[in-house]
Amino acid sequence: MTKHRTTRRGFLKTTIATGGALAAAGTARAAGDPAITEVQPWAQYLGDGVDARPYGTPSEYEAHVVRRNVPWLTADPVSSVNFTPLHELDGIITPNGLCFERHHAGIAELDPAAYRLMINGLVDRELVFTLDDLMRFPRENHVYFLECAANTGMEWRGAQLNGCQFTHGMIHNVMYTGIKLGHILAEAGVKTEGKWLLAEGADASAMTRSIPMEKALDDCLVAFKMNGEALRPEQGYPVRLVVPGWEGNMWVKWLRRLEIGDQPWHHREETSKYTDLLADGKARRFTWEMDAKSVITNPSPQAPIGHGPGPTVLTGVAWSGRGTIPRVDVSLDGGANWQAARMDGPSLPKSMHRFYYEFDWDGSPLLLQSRAHDSTGYVQPTKDALRAVRGENSIYHNNGIQTWAINEEGVAENVEVS
């Protein structure tokens, strides 16, 4: 983009001066922005009719806005993860096609006609439901974030990946339509000694997680829609479990079975994985809740400042597994001084929140940070504070403050600061 500015008067003068020449030459171009002075093809010719795109997709100019993988992270893409392009999004809702994916045996393509949900174990009646049966329960709608416990896990030992998509993109935030898990369990009648629930998926990993009954009856949902439409296959079509505020691995996709028991099962994803190893060699188990966290999505390494000094919009997202985010602070100098950001959009518990900070950039280097406060009073810690109590081998639950360094050209980089 040119930095040259044409005043209105100057523009008019030029137009008038060239006006005569234009008339003489007949085909000469008018002065000014060709996006205005030339008739664009879309302003002249007809576009596709209504049936050309029965299921709408984004503009071809948005083709770069996609989930991305970090190939070296895992042995095989079938049991792997990709990342939501947070730097390309705004507001609080993640579009369905951009919600990050984590599979343990690839995407299971279930036939809804063959879908069954079984409840067994410590219940009065062991039951089987079809999808049609589930559609006869009362429904609820809730917006919740789903964050993988390993989100930002590659950053424990220091700044590693250049882009909030890769450092923070194992999260999405959508509106779910579903049934309160408690309603479904009530049909089977949970026995009084039933204190735990095992949720199991129908994919080739038969994913299982143990969930305490208090949580199951508190706010868990058996969901079948996301953002108004059927769950995407990669998000568990036709039915997934929603475990608000708790780590994403527990939100079992392709949900096929709920077993009630009197103790947890200690399966692979709650022993070998999703336990947090501390520096002394001991590990925390059942670290379900996601701590408050925030990240600046623009500017960031994949979304540098392209316009030079002047009015600049800084924005980002924040969330907490324990409630809402009433406040986010922003620092431009690596945490020496902070200002309260402007919260905007809906503030819903266990949902993403959007914040903005508009400022006049003078073109000097910046060290950008954001710090979330949640409704319990908890304040997002620095990475150093987190490492001091957790060591560097935790993998999971890294909610430390992220720093982006911006140079004079507006280029952003993932850094750590003293």
């Binding site: 067994n120 089987v128 199991e200 009856l217 079975r257 103790q263 399966h267 060699g281 902070w338």
Partner: protein, 335 residues
Amino acid sequence: MSKFPKVLFVLTATVLGSAAAADTLGLGREATPDEVAAWDIDIRPDGAGLPVGSGSVLDGEEVFAEQCAACHGDFGEGVDRWPVLAGGQGTLESEDPVKTIGSYWPYLSTAWDYIHRAMPFGEAQSLSPDEVYAITAYLLYMNDVVDDDEFVLSNENFADTRLPNEDGFFMDDRDASPIMASADACMTDCKDSVEITMRARVLDVTPDQDGAEEMTEAAVTEESAEPVVDPALIAAGEQVFKQCKACHQVGEGAKNRVGPILNGIVGGAAGAVEGFRYSKAMAEAGEGGLVWDHEALAGYLADPRGYLPKNKMTFRGLKKAEDIDAVIAYLASFE
């Protein structure tokens, strides 16, 4: 659980109460015992859920070599980035902890349950209970939990077999951590100086965005330039190929994994993919002139072990001739 406020317990009791009061919609139907048995395969640390059966360390070594070693290595050391299953004792406090069944996992039931429900990768729930007992026994042996190779693991002695790190775990206590305390956040002059201590660019491990885009374009071009064979057969073959995907890649950007790349395999020489470590049997067959024409490939896919004894492919084979034809058509669409 201390993390739940008292209000929640009251709420819980209320909901449970209403469930017991038969205040229900009457939806769903009773599950039959056979249905419950088909899906309820989970195992707990106390051994609840285990089927009757047994397997020895020596049996396990054999099954492991055939079913597991391609990814996990002959001694559980892990090939490429596949999980390491043995060793690592004494590393949990180090900078590079190696979390294996012997060094980290608290309960043996976790291994039995996981192997039974999800392994081998790409052919889940194909192992018999005795095979799972045998593999689990071999894992105990590789991890020095048992040192007798005559050891037999069964549903009888399962709960008595403990793993070394059972006491290495404790309940989430983040609530008690000092950084969880609500604090007044400093707003001005919080630091004397700020220095950059680490830069991601130095590591340079961020995926290249341009590379990814080029790949997509190339893949699209290739697809559109592909006529000749019945597209329905190729599409059917793509479905069949799902069984192969755990180990093999095909198409633009394919890499050798547990199995070699399959681009150009139809009509190509056996054992000839560059950079792949073939079994002796496959390498020799290639040197002996074996070419993967339709007939040879069909024979191999029907019975990999029978067609070429001692080759490394652990796949059991495709039973249906139409599946074999379809997958060959699919593979032939990649040069």
